[in-house]
Amino acid sequence: MLITSIGQGLLWAPLAIGVFITFRILDIPDLTTEGSFPLGAAVTVSAMVSGQSALVASLLGFVAGCLAGWVTGMLDTKLRMPSLLAGILTMTGLYSINMHVMGKSNVPLLNQRVLTSYLPAGWSIDLQTIIVGAVITGVVMALLIWLFKTRLGLSLMATGNNSAMSAANGIYTDRMVIIGYMVSNGCIALSGALIAQSNGYADIGMGIGTIVIGLASVLVGEIFLRGRQMWVRLSAMVVGAIIYRFLLTVAMGLGFPVDDLKILSAGILVVVICLPLLRQKYQTKQQLKRYLKQIGVDSHATETSSLKRQASPEGLLSRDSK
């Protein structure tokens, strides 16, 4: 079960990385995801059915995702639309595009060689998936780590962090936002391409819930692995995608029907959004305690007295009567 989760998680990792780029670097919740993920799948599967090799088809999927990101980026920056709305519009439009690309709502892969078929047939499917996933995710990560070491990468980070200041320092922020959208949706579409090959088909509905999956992976990853360096942050996304898959596999093993997985996904997202907030609260409390001890105030005394105050009904009553 864990091995399968690792393999599947690695295929989903580019999605988490893509969402990370818009959500964390650019500080934009980008809903294009729901359209670019099936777009990657649709383009890749259609290309493979019409005779392209799996590698070329996957790259085409990536490029298609970049184009989708470009559209959202243009809507956001040039037409000055709120980014949420821009994403919704592209996502909705992509539904029709995906239908046109596929011609029908579900296109199966028949005898085409998918990426895993390039590996020795004797290896188990889990091993094949892990290797393909690891290689592709590794390449994506390496390229991004390089990108964020360049001046362009720094401009991207600055734009997401403080747009006004970035513009004042000579950064064309609109361009940066568009590039960010493109890279992000390219990665997301690539993930769609990998999942379609793993499933053996592209389906018009496979994008539903991907933004929740992506966000949940980002947040789960950040709970387990934290740091400022880009390689740590990107590794966290991979870890997040794998753990998220594992949670879903466990849920399915417990007998949750497939139809209930979406609400479970949403539930997981709620939990992982709240968890860091609670942790922060706890840490602040601990810090305060340590500080009070340091400056010589007996924190225990103040705490018990406050507890007493809370426990005393007279105190509550008297406050009410005032």
């Binding site: 070491k149 360049t150 001046r151 362009l152 990468g153 720094l154 401009s155 980070m157 600055a158 962090n161 403080n162 006004a164 200041m165 970035s166 513009a167 004042a168 320092n169 000579g170 950064i171 064309y172 922020t173 361009r175 940066m176 400022r228």
Partner: protein, 214 residues
């Protein structure tokens, strides 16, 4: 530049900086027509320090990374590594004169710095490329009196050292009288008073206040 709230000081500054598009007229800076140029391309000739210390720096990035943004401000699309050899020492030398202890905090994220430190860093970044025009938008208004004084003194030093043409908005009469060689008072979108040189040196606070009241 002084004036009541709503007089048009910030509007003028924002128009020069490019945050507000000009409805009419021409903006020429050192021979360059910048009326329709976007903010980013104006940055080649002008820099700005904002009122809010948080505005002038990227909080998530480190001190060194912020300085890099200013130091390499024409290469924002470059695919070269931004960390350069010998950069740390160069940045330390730049930060030393600020006397804010920033030289030991190159890798600290800017969000952990105090308002005064952030504003001093903003000022340094804005003047690093020695712009043709430096815009200061009430840049000490959000600081406590002592830090505010320190940042003003620092501003004076840097402006004099590099001989920068500077335009400062302030609500502090004393600062308006003490610093600079020209004083402009704006009211209802018009320039009401424009004194320079010796006449400005001889100007008294009481005279200014009566002008304000009119």
């Amino acid at each position: 530049m002084i004036g009541n709230n709503g007089a048009g000081k910030s509007t003028l500054l924002n128009t020069i900086a490019g945050t507000l598009p000009a409805d009419a007229g021409e903006l020429t800076l050192a021979g360059h027509r910048i009326t329709r140029k976007p903010i980013a391309s104006r940055s080649r000739w002008l820099s700005r320090v904002f009122q809010d210390p948080k505005m002038g720096t990227a909080g998530e990035l480190s001190v060194a990374e912020n300085l890099t943004l200013a130091a390499q401000h024409t290469g924002s699309m470059s695919l070269k590594r931004y960390r350069r050899h010998g950069q740390t020492a160069a940045y330390q030398n730049l930060l030393q004169p600020l006397n804010m202890g920033l030289e030991d905090r190159l890798t600290t994220q800017v969000k952990y710095l105090s308002g005064g430190q952030r504003q001093a860093l903003s000022l340094l970044m804005a003047t690093l490329s020695q712009p043709e025009l430096l815009l200061l938008d009430e840049h000490t208004a959000a600081l406590d009196p002592r830090t505010s004084q320190k940042v003003m003194a620092l501003t004076q030093t840097i402006v004099e050292q590099h001989q920068l043409t500077t335009m400062m908005i302030t609500h502090k009469m004393s600062d308006a009288l003490k610093y600079g060689n020209r004083l402009v008072m704006v009211q209802d979108g018009q320039i009401k008073l424009d004194v320079r040189g010796e006449a400005k040196q001889n100007l008294r606070q009481e005279e200014l206040l009566t002008l304000f009241a009119e």
